[in-house]
Symmetry: C2
Amino acid sequence: MYQSPTISYHGHHSPMGAHSSFTLGRLGASCGMATEKGAAADSSVYIGYRSASGVMHSFPFYKEMENEAERFTQSDEDVVATNHIFAEDEIERTYGWATDQFEAPGIRFSIYTPFESIPDPASATQEELAFASCPGTVIELCVENDSDEEWELFFAHHGTTPWMPMEGRHGLKGASTQGRMGFASVDPDVEEFIDFSVDKALGRTHTNTTFLLAPVAGLSARVAPGTTRVVRIAVGYYLGGTVTFNYPTAYWYNRYFNELDEVLSYTLKQAERSISIAKQRDAELASSGLNADQQFLLAHATRSYYGSTQWLDNGDPVWVVNEGEYLMINTLDLTVDMLFFELRYNPWTVRNVLEHFVERYAYYDEIFSPDAPDQMREGGLSFTHDMGVGNTFSPEKYSCYECGGIDRECFSYMTCEQLTNWVLCAGVYWVETQDDAFIATHKDILLACLQSLLNRDHPDAAQRNGLMGFDSSRTDGGGEITTYDSLDHSLGQARNNIYLAGKCWASYLALDHMLTSLSEPDAAAEALAGARRCVDSLTAAFDPTLGYLPAVLEEGNESAIIPAVEALIYPYKMGLMEAVSSTGPYGAYIEMLKKHLAYVLRPGVCLYDDGAWKLSNSADNSWASKICLNQFVVRHILQVDYEGSEKADPAHVRWQVYGSADHACSDQFSAGIPIGSLYYPRIVTAILWLEEQPVGQHQAEGRHEASEEVKMV
Amino acid sequence: MYQSPTISYHGHHSPMGAHSSFTLGRLGASCGMATEKGAAADSSVYIGYRSASGVMHSFPFYKEMENEAERFTQSDEDVVATNHIFAEDEIERTYGWATDQFEAPGIRFSIYTPFESIPDPASATQEELAFASCPGTVIELCVENDSDEEWELFFAHHGTTPWMPMEGRHGLKGASTQGRMGFASVDPDVEEFIDFSVDKALGRTHTNTTFLLAPVAGLSARVAPGTTRVVRIAVGYYLGGTVTFNYPTAYWYNRYFNELDEVLSYTLKQAERSISIAKQRDAELASSGLNADQQFLLAHATRSYYGSTQWLDNGDPVWVVNEGEYLMINTLDLTVDMLFFELRYNPWTVRNVLEHFVERYAYYDEIFSPDAPDQMREGGLSFTHDMGVGNTFSPEKYSCYECGGIDRECFSYMTCEQLTNWVLCAGVYWVETQDDAFIATHKDILLACLQSLLNRDHPDAAQRNGLMGFDSSRTDGGGEITTYDSLDHSLGQARNNIYLAGKCWASYLALDHMLTSLSEPDAAAEALAGARRCVDSLTAAFDPTLGYLPAVLEEGNESAIIPAVEALIYPYKMGLMEAVSSTGPYGAYIEMLKKHLAYVLRPGVCLYDDGAWKLSNSADNSWASKICLNQFVVRHILQVDYEGSEKADPAHVRWQVYGSADHACSDQFSAGIPIGSLYYPRIVTAILWLEEQPVGQHQAEGRHEASEEVKMV
């Protein structure tokens, strides 16, 4: 079986849409349950067993493990009992797509995070919706006592707000804090406790279970010599009432559950079903054909994605993905990357986000050329970078992020890129779902997007070259940036950027495709002409002296970037296979990109020495999510390989398990060290890799089957 | 004017009953607004002005001041501007009873925390209740620009959750976070901003005010050369809906205010009235006759008290004082100490808490003698230590604190002491208010209290000696403790403790007084007999060889404690002047206590070398609140002085301003270092000192006048 280089790294363990996680796995680190937090909980989890003679055996799921170990492991000869904290080499961790399992001598601990299609509230049954939205997670603790004395297994959690014991309500034993999170079991042999430590609790140093002042609540059960006991526990979350600001919404699960106790009770009742789905997902990934490193990365990304999801309710469903540690709401340049994952499982969430942007976060601007910043021209429609931050929705038509007065640096506007992002999401969504009503409803928006895209090239049609040439008036004389906001101009500047130009080309193709279907032949033709201008400019810009296409087609920029090819994903996913073929209408462009790749995918250019990918040769700042996406384009769409390509996946695994060990899955790395975008949802671009496998497998495991499971189970 | 030894210490600045504080004052420390937190906010406040040439002048109300200072103060010769952070010796702080003012060159910053009688909801008008409960605080910033360039004053606050600008709603400029706290001004010349720092904001490095991602929100206003500008700002808090668990309540202010914006708007509208009340309080304290150290201690205690108060609503008012850093709800052994303060301003809160204990936190137990722990006898009624913790109400009849199975150590039961506490509160409340209906309603409770108190001495009447001799069955074979829970047995053990015996004596007197009034002559006589037994035992236990009354009358204990005299406060406050007189019925006891004091109030016994009080000679653990109370008993009731007594007050000030500088007013000190009970409300026992002043003054400043002010203003 595959072993990642270390087992000591955090993973999210989250229900779908609850923006909550039982994050755990990094040894000797803070961990535990947390809700609406852009980082691992600052708590401790105690899992293990205590022998009748008082020796504690436990996993090191808490901070200052080493100090604690010293404190427990007494060399004093008078003390017979020495407590034992499992060392890393005693623990085996199996990290499946939906099961995370830790085994140490005598004990096995499993966390099940099943996921499947989130059913569309417009058509699903109450029961389906309750199951999908239930904010609980099943864990299982198995202790096999091969000794000749009684053991007592335990699961306990440190809290920073008071624990309240369950005291048998709904048949539950366990504890909750402020009704917001808690854990419980319905096992009749389990006892609940609250104390200053597990050791004190199991030592029965006091006699009541209502010791609300003490910070450690837990469950224990006796395991007779020579027997095995399995205890099933639910961890759960509950936030009732309005949870967002400036645009009131509640959690969707409020519809089915009135309080945490009901969540925990339901989670335990549905445990078999949850475990079964988790095991199905594990099996799918194991038999996917992905190599072991890829399997790890996809599983890791999937967990971080669900940890950031937030299924809200304002009368209608409101789908939100929070931007990892930053907690920005539905960042549109993340939406376009997570699109492939969401379309596989629940396309309705994509439409939900796109329409939310249309309703509240679309705006019209003017534009200007950097040569004449005071001369405003007609701009057009675009969309904000995000919808707010930390449950606080921004005022309509504004993101929480974009500021005027900034010239091509972090926090400037992303007007052009967000325009392409909305168009590309719409196009891929429509093709995947055949939701003709969607494009029909938004025909005027699509036409406005086309005009806006054309204007941002040049308001004077005769002077257009297909690239973005004008900046938004919203920048107040500054200059726009791309999603690569903290990179240098090679990927950070929007204007005349070849990465963004690729997205413009793909957007024109998407608009052509949709407008043709909408019987708007003139507009479709205009879109197609835009696409042509774009690739022609790009193809012509290939610099044979340099050997590649420079990143920004102005001011002598000579950066070499991998994402020159990124946008091929969109026509590919829209089924426009001719568009990405060397023999199709854009064949020269495709061939040029292959030449470009042949140059850049070399050590010292866009490869680190260890084989990891460096998105730009001029900046030590690389995004894991974008690497996954570009890998798919390179390997699968362009069928390009290069010397040493087998070194990339293991290197990217090391970024996560060593570099980002405290932050679960992270996105932005500088030479393997995460420098931002921690605890991040975006890396589910790795879902694309499943399509690289032999034909048939993808279909068999795709969303259609996932939907069927809901009915089946 | 009086100067405390340092100006660098935190003070609470809180509205009444909102459990919220704008805590600030310690230089270079975290500070700011926080709600329901048992510590100073982990934030930063920026107050100062920026010259047109870009030099920032600011108070160091943020952490890592020194590093920041280094960063700002550039020695690079190319940089002309050097920013200036006011040093401690440039700042003058005036710490009145209700005004805390900081002055530095060119700037004055004042925080007004008016307090007065909280009107009884049973009889007060909506307008009175709204004003008293409004969770807002007025601050004033005055900048006097004597330079020849324009200055820009600023007030800004760092946030850990997103700021949302006011954008003129209700005419307000400012910002709020998650609708829970914020600040605003209605000054038309003020601008609002959100940015990464004040410097960036005033440098206008970006152009929009909706930059929700940035952590620093603030207000600024221009000050022309040669002019002075005063800006009035409200800081406020708002928690809507149910805020407590296991016993749902909302904040009382929800009745008058629907959201934070309304709180801020109202606070600004009522600013003159608030400032006027604050200035009245300042003037009262200044003319109180208390020495400067005492004035400081009372002002400091008052702020910490209000910071812990929580005026809740479950249809009827629910009064809660949180136990400082521990957040325990209505700890009864604090209630009995804060009684004098609450009776001065709002006696209805005392009755409210006492009746809440009767309804939900009274219980009956059995009792046992330590000689025969398995032989249970009839115990009786008592009350729990507290009602829960951290907004989580304990299950009925249980505190969050008390555990069985513990023998005279922290977290054991305080059954006997809490019984006396309830009785003493009831007695003093009744005498002060002449609320005959209260004792009539609770006559059965009073009778049950008497029986319980008698039984805890000895269930067999013939064997009673007036002292507690039996422990509660709730201890499960352990032993009870007193409120001095972390002290050694001299004050920590309840059984046969002379401190608790004093409270038993006072409780018998209170019961006699109330039951006489209730025409229960037999029960009253039994109570009086109990009081007699108690003082006779205590008087006889004086050890002439030792020279004092040892703390615990068993097992050869020889500790010497000051609180032997503590309980005299209760008969004194009940007007039973004969009971505390050397010539009265307990004259021998009173004389014995004076001899005791003559022995213990000496360096090396119960005085530290610097003159501070040490409650027990056998433990380096002293409670500031209890010192204040015992000082009053010693100085005013017993009229005892001792050599070096003038050194005590300055020493106790040093405990607070040096030892507890980060924690506002704290209670539990070990040689001047706070070791627990930080950020604590209980020190308002210092209110008693006002009664030591010339006759007439106390009456003039008491609650009657305070009540009149409500009508007057």
